[in-house]
Point group: C2
Chain length 384, copies 2
């Protein structure tokens, strides 16, 4: 196990009707920037509910709406301007990971003289941030409890993640009922995202990090059990609750700390989203089994077999056989969730493979199995 510093300071109010805790924002001031996406939170009533609670707490609300699924730097800049012009005390994101990510960089940008894109490219330039709050409406990115934010500049085909202790939310509200109306497509993509976060941490070369590995296996079991239930019964509370809490645990540091490894499927997927604006979780579902095929070797079979035995209860002595069955199970699961199997299905062809692979290769450096630019092109091709 590696040395590590564990710090998950975000307070979470989890469960039914926890939105009443929005009055706690008062602890950070009396002017909030409310960040949200399309109109879904108005249709669902969450918007009205939140406004009422904030009003009762004498908090003045400014708004940044229309945040995109892959949040754009232009939205961040608009939010930063509003914060600076009105001396806003805190940001409140209501939505999924994209909305929260946007709000996070707004919170940092509001305390900086630099253009926020610089804070995306250079996380170390984040020196201060407004307090960040969130109400989560989609189980996927884990942004409600972590230090990450991913922002795109589509004019440059760029999508980058930034990270800072200062971007960890002060408090998040997680009401699984809010995810009842998440579409089947987004439910599947969100589940794929959670699974990928877990895999990215789980497939590590660090030895002896058993707390982390056993936790990761538990999270994977939850996804495989509850993903299909959530698809079939969108208002199954326990399915939505377990997916939601799993999404936070997959990326809040708990399964990473002490078992550190560079991610690789995410960097490869970020290029797909940056060039084609596809749904992140769908890109992950396409690439993950292909990456597994590529990464499997005599050297790594033991780890894949551990995954197969502990998560899928596959019985067998031969690591390679168990490993292959585990990868097949993973592939079947994504198919069962109606996730796309090939890049062609989401409209991607070979055109930018070279460019995308070159950029992805940097992000992948230090991952479980080292990937060169050529390896990544091979993976992209196998995913066609």
């Amino acid at each position: 196990m590696n040395n590590f510093t564990y710090s998950i300071p975000t307070k979470i109010h989890f469960g039914k009707d926890q939105i009443s805790h929005l009055n706690e924002l008062k602890e950070s001031g009396d002017k909030v920037l409310l960040v949200y996406g399309g109109g879904s939170i108005k249709k669902s009533g969450i918007y009205d509910n939140a406004m009422e609670i904030l009003k009762s707490a004498d908090i003045t609300v400014y708004e940044l709406s229309g945040v995109e699924p892959n949040p754009k730097i232009e939205s961040v800049r608009a939010g930063v301007s509003t914060c600076k012009e009105n001396e806003i005390d805190m940001v409140l994101a209501i939505g999924g990971g994209s909305t929260i990510d946007c709000a996070k960089v707004v919170a940092a940008g509001a305390c900086s003289e630099e253009d926020p894109w610089e804070l995306v490219l250079h996380p170390d330039r984040i020196k201060k941030a407004l307090p960040i709050y969130s109400v989560l409406t989609l189980a996927a990115t884990g942004s409600e409890m972590d230090e990450f934010a991913v922002i795109s500049d589509l004019s440059k085909n760029e999508k980058w993640g930034t990270a800072s202790e200062l971007l960890k939310p002060t408090m998040s509200i997680m009401d699984p009922q809010y995810t009842y109306t998440v579409s089947p497509k987004q439910t599947s993509a969100g589940t794929a995202d959670i699974i990928s976060h877990t895999f990215e941490n789980y497939f590590t070369n660090v030895k002896g990090a058993d707390v982390q590995a056993r936790f990761a296996e538990g999270l994977l079991k939850n996804c495989f059990k509850y993903g299909p239930i959530a698809l079939k019964e969108p208002d199954n509370y326990d399915a939505r609750a377990n997916l939601m809490w799993t999404s936070s645990m997959a990326i809040n540091g708990l399964i990473k700390d002490g078992a550190e490894v560079a991610w690789c499927v995410h960097p490869m997927e970020h290029e797909l989203s940056a060039f084609y604006d596809i749904t992140h979780g769908e890109g992950l579902a396409i690439l993950t089994p292909v990456w597994m095929d590529f990464a499997l070797s005599d050297k790594t079979a033991g780890k894949f077999a551990e995954y197969g035995r502990n998560v899928w209860n596959i019985v067998g002595e031969d690591d390679m056989v168990v490993a292959k069955e585990a990868i097949a199970k993973t592939r079947e699961f994504f198919a069962q969730m109606n996730l796309p199997k090939t890049l062609a299905e989401v409209g991607i062809n070979e055109e930018y493979f070279d460019k995308m692979a070159e950029k992805a290769a940097n992000g992948c450096a230090g991952s479980f199995v080292e990937l060169t630019k050529e390896d990544i092109i091979e993976i992209y091709k196998a995913a066609l």
Copy 2:
């Protein structure tokens, strides 16, 4: 899954030579009360090391030494007096759970006009506490990352736990190397304590709390794997590290939140320690399998079988058969760790069963299987 509020604000510096982070105490002031037990931290060099770092950070150190294995209220009172007389800014415990528990109640008592025993009996009277820091030297209670403290008044045969958000440490340093010198007896007792914390949370009637259950199973696997290794190879880093990190995770709220249930083996054991001052973990190891035998019924067999299948990989269709094998495995494990099997072995006879059971029954109310005073006497008798 139940509604819950998750809050684990303690920062942890985990790993080799993390004691250098003691300079962070400066953030809380410049006068610290150092709380420790016997001379073992002097023998091991941790004391000198800590003093040097604190001195370099210009922090003045006051001391409370000689804290007992079951920390006494008299020690707490002495610490409170020192804090009040010298306007101390924070407390720093170096030791195991007993030392940290003592320091926690000192921290609360220093901010209160009441006698600290009142704060033990009435947790809601804890309104403020000095910042609490710890350097852990024993993997067991999880006190380094939780809100609990257990204090004894042996003059009254009383041992009670108190709890408060304010008792959660600000920062704890966990260096597994410090546990290399923990005796076989304490290694075994500590492992039993971790296992019991996990069981107390795991055996719940709350349905659908899968994140919590899968995490608990992972923690149990770690104890069963690494307990015997730590006994055989006291300086096996991965064994000590996994036991140490597991000890924190078993009780910091992670596996409890959303799956709440009253504990029962701990309240029964606390009476044994209060009346006989025995080692807490040994009492737990004696009582746990006996409690399992008692709690097993057609109604609970499913849960015990889940434990058997997911932790011990027991294969079988019949819940009752799997459950019984799982209980047998648990009993065997404690025996393998050279833990006592009967109350007689630790010098306890029937004399106080009636008195102890009466007190324990209150603490057990609302547990996985409800226990009357008579039930508890039956369990004590079966443990003779």
